[in-house]
């Protein structure tokens, strides 16, 4: 493995008595398409927030391209893009204005910001809606607009939290193709997801997080261990319910 684009060491975070992230270690090589999977409440979003400088950790270190996120936030933030789980944007800007704003915040000159915004809107199939207010965008359009904002400054590492949650298949395909192209150019993607089929399909590196700890990490093949990723995941995390055996009253044949 070459120089890691993302290196996480002993990352910890507690909320009161609850330990959300219990000291995780992770290394993602540059040019990887990496997935972070885990059940609900496993610590995926908390971990990604700490890795991107949006949530102060209780301990540990995060290096992006050897830049310490918490020692030098401006330098680290300059090389990353983030797509949060909930696409909350500036609702009263049009899609076009939003992307230009994101570019200008990242220090792009006016002309460059406008030009990249127009190109991204085109690739993301949003040109026809460029002048509509973001408040009127559908879930898929919001996700695509958020992705545009995260990519406009050409980051070398992109973090995405549940990027395809609630997105229709057509928009999902647009996003997937754009990310694949992004990784193909040598950039790195780390995204969290519940959808094992998607992770298995696009990721070359997978980490499984459960109860705030990384329980498996490696190439997708290594983590699968000859099984489907779904089965490997359930084997590692464990089935959490008894399948409803106690609910004798449930079902059409019951009285």
């Amino acid at each position: 493995m070459g120089e890691p684009a993302i290196a996480v060491r002993g990352l910890r975070k507690s909320f009161g008595p609850k330990e959300a992230v219990a000291g995780i270690d992770l290394e993602i090589a540059a040019g990887s398409f990496a997935g972070l999977v885990g059940p609900n409440g496993a610590g995926k979003t908390t971990s990604l927030s700490m890795m991107t400088g949006l949530l102060r950790p209780d301990g540990g270190q995060v290096l992006i391209n050897r830049l310490d996120v918490w020692a030098d936030p401006p330098a680290a933030k300059a090389v990353i893009g983030v797509v949060p789980a909930e696409a909350r944007l500036f609702e009263r800007l049009s899609g076009e204005e939003l992307l230009e704003y994101a570019g200008r915040l990242r220090g792009l000159p006016v002309g460059e910001a406008r030009s990249r915004a127009a190109q991204l809107l085109g690739v993301l199939d949003l040109t026809a809606d460029a002048k509509r207010l973001v408040a009127d965008y559908s879930t898929g359009m919001r996700k695509k607009a958020t992705l545009g904002c995260a990519l406009i400054h050409n980051p070398s590492v992109l973090f995405l939290d549940e990027p395809l949650e609630g997105v229709d298949p057509v928009s999902a395909d647009v996003i997937r193709r754009l990310l694949t192209r992004f990784v193909g150019s040598g950039s790195t993607v780390l995204f969290s997801s519940h959808v094992m089929e998607l992770v298995e399909q696009v990721c070359d590196h997978v980490s499984i997080i459960n109860k705030g700890r990384i329980v498996a990490t490696g190439t997708t093949e290594q983590v699968r261990g000859g099984k489907t990723l779904q089965q490997a995941f359930i084997d590692l995390v464990g089935s959490r319910a008894d399948g409803g055996e106690g609910l004798s009253w449930l079902g059409s044949s019951s009285s």
């Binding site: 944007l89 009263r92 704003y101």
Partner: protein
């Protein structure tokens, strides 16, 4: 169903109390206020015994209470959590029992009880004899029922309206006339009372038309029953009951529609213009551009400016035509500026999760200073002309148009102080906000009311203190020729205001650099 909803309301109240110390303190304060309102109203109504205008005043009090029920949930408290039809739409509930349940839940709590107890003051103040007392009890019960049904009808109607983005925008503006009437009751009426221009006798005959409103029917029923007209009294209460039934039916209809109305937010409009204005002026210009667009397109921003204008006019209206007009003029300018500080003292919480886009890109003290400075430029572009216009307008009404410059001087210093305090409070005492169904204005998330109070009173007090030197300069130089002192005063006040705003930006930038992740965590908790 009624019992279930009352239990739900009580459980929500209990759980809210367990959530944090601030929630407990807020509940205790609210309960104390409710008790004071109950005792005060009861004593006030009881004291009307023997007063010639007692029925007129009772009519006014009953009408004011109904008005309060109508607007207070919109202004301050949001919609009761048990009353949001959207949370109940999934359950197989028939509309009629659902409405009864929701009505019972509305009647549960300290404020409805305070309302009931307070209005019972009419049993002493207005009622005479056994039948009069009986009708008084019945009238108060019907009045409270009317208030609750009216409030539910309006909020359920608004909840339907609020399902579309355009509807939300439109409904938000309804608050402006409501706020204007509210200001008349809270600012103008107490002032006129203190000055002796408003006495109980002023209300004699006030109920010529008000008596035919539902609250008036309740008050007059008590008087008629006490004066030996039982038939008229019963007829009026029957009419009131009929109004409640009609209102209830309308509410149930609105509720039924609310449970199945689709979201129409995708019926959208497009914006003109290809790009951000003044985007070419660096980061400061970019942020100013975004803030400028928000001041024009975001209904709550427009509402805040309208509220500022209404308050400025309301506080000065009773003095502006008197020899003490200058105090009204300067006070209005200072208060207008202070309101800008109050309404923008949580700009990050108000930005909500979209602040994440900025938090990811802005790093370092310099960038954060440019961020706050950009926001201030956008606010100043509206605040300065708006407040100046109002100051000169008031000065013209007072027939001393040149003194508009004095108001302008105070307001320029005040706006600078307000921008400084707004920037500082937004980074030192930020809080997440939420918009509830039926309420166009965001309110602090449970447990953060203390932060809002700190921001509000800190901003008000700080702005007023900051403008004192300019007010003193304006007053002490009154004997000098206007042509000499006015330009100097205005220029010095503007310089002072700019210096204050500059200091605010520097402080806020420094604090924000240290707290950026914490500020983001606050913003991301906002639900707008």
């Amino acid at each position: 169903m009624a019992r279930l909803f009352v239990q739900l309301k009580l459980r929500l109240l209990r759980n809210g109390l367990r959530s944090s110390t601030q929630a407990q303190v807020a509940f205790i304060i609210s309960t104390i206020f409710a008790a004071l309102v109950a005792v005060g109203t009861f004593a006030g109504l009881a004291a009307l015994r023997g007063n010639s205008a007692s029925v007129d005043l009772t009519t006014v009090v009953f009408t004011v209470f109904a008005f309060g029920w109508l607007i207070l949930p919109l202004l301050a408290f949001g919609l009761d959590g048990t009353l949001d039809p959207a949370t109940l739409a999934l359950y197989p509930l028939r509309t009629r029992p659902l409405a009864v349940g929701l009505l019972a839940a509305s009647a549960t709590g300290a404020w409805p009880l305070a309302n009931l107890v307070g209005l019972l003051g009419v049993t002493i103040g207005l009622a005479r004899g056994g039948f009069g007392l009986f009708i008084a009890l019945l009238a108060v019960l019907l009045e409270v029922l009317f208030c609750i049904t009216l409030a539910r009808f309006v909020t359920a109607g608004l909840a339907g309206l609020l399902r579309s983005r355009r509807g939300k925008d439109f409904a938000a503006f309804l608050i402006i006339p409501i706020f204007a009437v509210y200001e008349v009751f809270t600012q103008v009426v107490p002032k006129l009372t203190a000055e002796g221009k408003l006495t109980p006798a002023s209300f004699a005959g006030a109920d010529v038309w008000m008596r035919w409103l539902p609250p008036g029917l309740a008050a007059h029923a008590i008087q008629d029953a006490s004066n030996g007209h039982p038939g008229t009294a019963l007829l009026q209460l029957t009419l009131l009951a009929a109004v409640i039934v009609v209102l209830g039916r309308l509410w149930i209809g609105s509720l039924s529609r609310g449970l199945v109305t689709v979201d129409t937010t995708t019926q959208s409009s497009t914006v003109r213009g290809a790009a951000l204005p003044f985007g070419r002026y660096g980061l400061r210009g970019t942020v100013a551009a975004r803030s400028w667009i928000y001041q024009r397109r975001e209904p709550s921003s427009i509402i805040y400016w309208c509220i500022t204008a209404v308050v400025m006019i309301a506080v000065s209206i009773s003095t502006i035509l008197t020899p003490r007009y200058l105090s009204g003029l300067l006070g209005s300018a200072a208060l207008g500026a202070a309101l800008i500080a109050v309404l923008h003292s949580d700009s990050i919480g108000m930005s909500g999760p979209s602040f994440g886009l900025e938090a990811m890109a802005l790093s370092g003290r310099r960038a954060l200073r440019a961020y706050f400075s950009g926001q201030n430029i956008a606010l100043g572009m509206i605040a300065v002309p708006l407040l100046t216009l109002i100051s000169f307008g008031l000065a013209a009404v007072a027939k001393h148009p040149v003194d508009g410059f004095l108001g302008m001087a105070v307001e320029l210093a005040g706006i600078g102080a307000a921008l400084a305090l707004g920037s500082v409070f937004t980074v030192t005492a930020p809080y997440p906000v939420e918009k509830r169904v039926g309420s166009p204005t965001p309110r602090p998330v449970d447990g953060y009311m203390g932060y809002r109070l700190a921001g509000t009173f800190g901003s008000l007090f700080g702005t007023v203190v900051a403008v004192i030197p300019v007010v003193l300069a304006a007053v002490f130089t009154r004997s000098d020729p206007a042509v000499v002192r006015m330009p100097v005063l205005v220029l010095c006040a503007a310089g002072y205001g700019i210096a204050l705003a500059w200091i605010g930006v520097r402080v806020a930038g420094g604090v924000a650099e240290q707290k950026l992740p914490d500020l983001y965590q606050i913003a991301v908790r906002s639900e707008l």
